[in-house]
Amino acid sequence: MEAVAQKIRETAAKLLSEGKVDCVIGYAQGTVPMRDYPYFAYTPEEAQNLTWSPFCCNNLANFLIRRPKGEIGKVAIVAQGCVSRSIVGLIKENQIAREDVYILGVPSPGMVDRRKVQDRFPLKTITEVTVDGEDLVVKGKDFEERIPQKEVRRDNCYTCVQRNPVIVDEMMGEEGPSDWGGNIDAVAAPWEKLEPGERWEAFIDEVDSCIRCYACRDACPLCYCHVCFVDEAMPQWCGKTQDEADVATFHILRAFHCAGRCTDCGACESACPQGIKVRRFTSKIEKDIRELYDYSPGMDLEATPPLSVYRPNDPQEFIK
């Protein structure tokens, strides 16, 4: 893990000093345990702050579109499997040009879910977490424990199908196995196992703690609309209140807009302050897309996304 971080720092410094890129987007050590944050290095010295750890839960592709286009020219970006797939998606949707991005490919180590670690120490405050080989050393006020990373890995990383980056300019470490053995179809769409009657309760009690801060929308690289449907007033599709219907409308439509585009990077779930498992909606849609169109988003630059083109043999059994 540390070797990869070191390689990133060197490459970043080299790229910056040669002026090949104006900025390198990577991760830096956070001020709060288990929280590395997206960091913009403009000078070789700043490149030294870049790290690589199992706590890099944000999707950096998000920052390729969030910054004003004209300001920064060529950018290098650290990208593991799911981030690289997001980059492919953004290129296909004309949001970024392939030549503007220099991709530093990294095999994804499988990120840690900081809530799973916190749940092991209910109500206790964790002061520091360090990586030691395959394990994590968790220190708190009056406790210290060692936990194997495998047990606290994020759900989406556990069932990730594409650990190695899809498109890359330079690899920062050798390619690992392409998945962690998790079977995405078994895990996806957990509510399908519930009775139709109970599903609504499960859905509502999952989203009732939502405080409508839209962190899930803003953390996602796919949400780059100037005016999101929640901001539209005339007509108002979805109210701003905490009513059950408004919260439900927001989550259903946000997930719907990711259909055929979501690369399951889990940034939305990591960003949510209330710990809502928003991936439950997108995993269901992606499962349908796989079954109906046999297409997984962001894998290949040329393939046209299934929902934006009509083919005669599209499945239509739901139409009478």
Binding site: W237, A245, T249, I252, L253, F256, I319
Partner: protein
Amino acid sequence: MSDNSQYQPRIAAFLCNWCSYGAADLAGVSRLQYPPNIHVIRIPCTGRMSPKFILQAFRQGVDGVWVSG
């Protein structure tokens, strides 16, 4: 939205102007009887149909949505 004694569902029917709306007119011309629960909203084509309308219809408390192209 009046609900009388015997439960009468309210159904929002989005009919495409050229195909289904035409079929509805023809059903009228040939005096085919059917239950009055559907409320027709004319759209130029099913392409015009968007998930926002379906969600909005359910938010308005309709009991069923029917999209016909």
